[in-house]
């Protein structure tokens, strides 16, 4: 039991920078650049860990506590999401809604810290981040509803197990609609183009980067790693809610576990590459056009619910 917890923690912490590196590499490929190696995010974090942290004169303890709370909240969410096995030792502690609220907790503290230094960049970033979160939340909840109506539960392990048990029968109009809706949400939640540009430091466009502008050194390393882990977890949610095939279920042997991990890594990389392709093929949207994007997601989830009623309730 404890082995499973520690192993899952190890996987998510170890894989998260790799996923970031691969996505950067794919983006570089499409921009006809050579780009940094896929291991670059590891080097970046290791480098940051060797540096001093410059702290603003204006800050309070919130600034120091926020990276820790945010990081821990994301890690805790990671223990509630099925990665390679559906039977999670701590799965009883929270369902899909709890995962979302843990992400909200992480965001809350990051945004709070953004206001602490008294810089306008921070406030701007925090304000936009919370704005986007408000846009995302209704669409997210409705797509969860669509999934939960289908399976009859918001227990993540149970969803994965049921959908994986159904095999290809699980592919249905409402699942597809809900997947597309959640995919759009995933773009927003991980701060990707067209919502936010992770590679920019231009004051007019940055959102996440503006919030963490005052962090440096070790604190920045924790913040960056937390963001990478969150990204990995959101892609894991997509993968294991909609395509859980190959995931190990209770009582699986060591071989099945290894196989499940391999399948998981491949799924995550495919989603990462898709995300990078989407990112390179679109331009960043104006902040006030984002409600349109989220309405699309909202409508898709709503259609998923209606489709479910038509197909099942008939």
């Amino acid at each position: 039991m404890i082995a499973q917890i520690i192993f899952q923690l190890f996987i998510i912490i170890a894989l998260a920078p790799l996923l970031s590196g691969i996505m950067k590499k794919v983006k570089a490929f499409f921009q006809i650049r050579k780009g940094p190696g896929v291991l670059q995010p590891y080097y970046d974090i290791l480098k940051l860990l060797q540096k001093d942290s410059v702290v603003s004169t204006n800050v309070s303890w919130i600034f120091h506590a926020a990276p820790i709370v945010s990081f821990v909240a994301v890690l805790a969410a990671g223990l509630l999401i099925p990665i390679y096995i559906t039977q999670l030792s701590l799965g009883f502690a929270g369902d899909l809604i709890a995962v979302i609220y843990l992400f909200a907790l992480a965001r809350f503290f990051t945004a709070l810290a953004s206001l602490d230094a008294g810089s306008s960049f921070g406030g701007m970033g925090g304000s936009r981040e919370m704005f986007i979160a408000s846009l995302v939340e209704p669409a997210l909840m409705l797509s969860i509803f669509a999934v939960a109506l289908n399976v009859g539960s918001t227990n993540l392990g149970f969803i994965s197990q049921t959908v994986s048990g159904l095999g290809f029968d699980a592919v249905s109009p409402y699942q597809i609609l809900a997947f597309v809706a959640l995919f759009i949400i995933a773009i927003a939640e991980t701060g990707r183009i067209p919502v936010d540009n992770p590679a920019t430091h231009l004051e007019l466009t940055m959102i996440h980067e503006a919030m963490i502008l005052e962090y440096s050194g070790k604190q920045l390393a924790i913040v960056e790693l937390g963001a990478m882990i969150k990204q990995l977890l959101i892609y894991s949610l997509l993968a294991n809610i909609f395509f859980p095939w190959g995931i190990a279920t209770g009582g699986a042997g060591a071989l099945a576990m290894v196989f499940a991990i391999l399948v998981y890594v491949i799924k995550i990389i495919i989603i990462g590459i898709t995300m990078a392709v989407v990112e390179t093929s679109t331009a960043k949207w104006r902040l006030f056009r984002l409600p349109e994007l989220m309405s699309i997601s909202l409508m898709l989830s709503f259609l998923a619910i209606v489709a479910f009623i038509i197909v099942k309730g008939g």
Binding site: I68, L75, A111, G122
Partner: protein
Amino acid sequence: MVAFYLIGAISSVILNKKDRICSYFSFFSAAAGALIGAIFSISVIFGETFYLTLSQDSYLKFGFFVDKLSAFFILVISISVFAVSIFSTGYVKEYFGKKNIGHLGFLYNIFILSMIFVVCANNAIMFLIVWELMSVISFFLVVYEHEKPETRKAGFIYIVMTHIGTGFILLSFMIFAGTSGSFSFETFNPAGLTMTPLLKDLAFIFAFIGFGAKAGIVPLHIWLPYAHPAAPSNVSALMSGVMIKTAIFMMIRISFDFLGASGSWWGYIVLAVGTISAILGILYAVVEPDMKKMLAFSSIENIGIILIGLGASMIFFASGKPIISAIAAIAALYHLLNHSVFKGLLFMGAGSILYSTHTKNIEELGGIIKKMPLSAILILIGVLSISAMPPFSGFVSEWLTFQSLLLSFNLNNNFAIIMLSISAAFLALTGALAAYCFLKFFGMVFLALPRSEHARNAKEVNIPMLVGMGIFALLSILLGILPVYVLPVLDRIAASFIGTSAFSQSISVGTFGMISIPSSQGISISTPVLLAMLLILMLIPAIILLINRRAQPIYETWGCGQPISTARNEYSANAFSKPVQMWFKSLYRPARETEATYSSPYLKESFKFESKIEQVFEQYLYNPVVDFVMVKSRKAKLIQTGSIHAYLGYIFGILIILFMFVIAGGS
């Protein structure tokens, strides 16, 4: 219990010249009354219904009757009163020498007493008397700082709206009394069940409007954002935390106990009104710069969330699923309890900020976390609870509300599924905006640099105030991590009006503080384990930060190479909520005025910017009605000559007409 409140009331009148002693007497006796009230209510929840009849007259049986539902509300009132009373002993120091503490203490005690009587009155006449008493006393409390003109306006709007509400309540009671032939609540239950569907619908709608005005549902909410901020902060904590809940109490009483929740569409009305109140309440709260007003708007939001739970419960009940209905009712009751705790905490917090900075305007504050570190932590707990952050109290009740909406897949009713999922989407939006709103509140008030002289001179508040807030902060945490002990109690209460216990069938508690819903494939959360996870996982970043420790040089905030460390460069609260304002332009209808003076064509000398948000409901719903009434009244002035002879003539004329009616009817 009653005696303590009366002692508090009377002693404060007697001692009204000695501020300090008077405040101790009145507030400590209120706290003692609250303790006894809490013990009494727990004994009723786990024991027998309590009756006390004062007069045996068969037509008007005056007396009290406390069943489990009333006892729950007495408990909620008592918890709030206890913490708020302790807070008040510190808070009223503000008024020493300036205002009459005796008046405040007297009104405060009588106000609490009237709220307790409201939830245990046993007949309609008595209920209306104490209800009116509660309204009038709270009106006096609202206008306690009557030297300010906006307070007088607030009081006026409040008293008008609350009487419109009472009018509708009266109509509803008359329908019941007309069928049962008595004003006793005991006879309302059989009468309510035997009425024709039309009468039932009317009784429900009148009661919903009447009590809705008190609860602050949209569009009857307009008094709330004026009245709650105008009252002294300790009273606002009680008004927002407890008084508006008495209306919820009567809604449950009437729709479940008296009418058997039989109307299939009632639940949808409650759900829709709840959803609209939740979303509009929080939308106005997000852009509000006055922190007490913001909290008042957020009360509208939370009443909305409670009504969503209640509405879902009524829908399930009318669809013949009492067990699921009980879960939704438990969710609503849980949120009600939580809201009274964290809203009380936040109103007291706002009071503390007001006490030490003398301003309610978020834009003028900032940086006071360094001046008021303890208040800041306590208020942060309140903020995290109201934003439904795990593992705090708001999270548990919102989780339960979401789960009860999700249980709609048990229904064979497509309309219900769609309505409940739309409501869930709006609830999610409300939750996200609440986090936005309270993040802004905490960030702007406590963090960064002080924006005005007020904030620079802030200092930590006195110990009674911290203790009062501390009790609520502790409760917020306990209600969050120990729902296993709270749910069985709430289940007893929900079972008392729904008739079926949800426990062990559709909701259960387990080891590690787990609450689960077996009918949804064992979905569960365990907030203590979540908390433990968060704490244990903290080892990882702690190790990262502590191993090979690096220096943390202190330097000013980065400003693109320019020194910018002044409060003028900070992001303002208005700017922080600007995206929402742009998003919902059509709702807010913002009006802005800019005024610039130039000393030369190139140099701006000064620039003034003013932006204002329109209260759509006042503008388009109330103002036309008020105008209409004014015009008609002006016409009606014609017959009011002021001469007593003319009035006698009118009375005579009416009498003649009445006699003719009687004679015509008799023959």
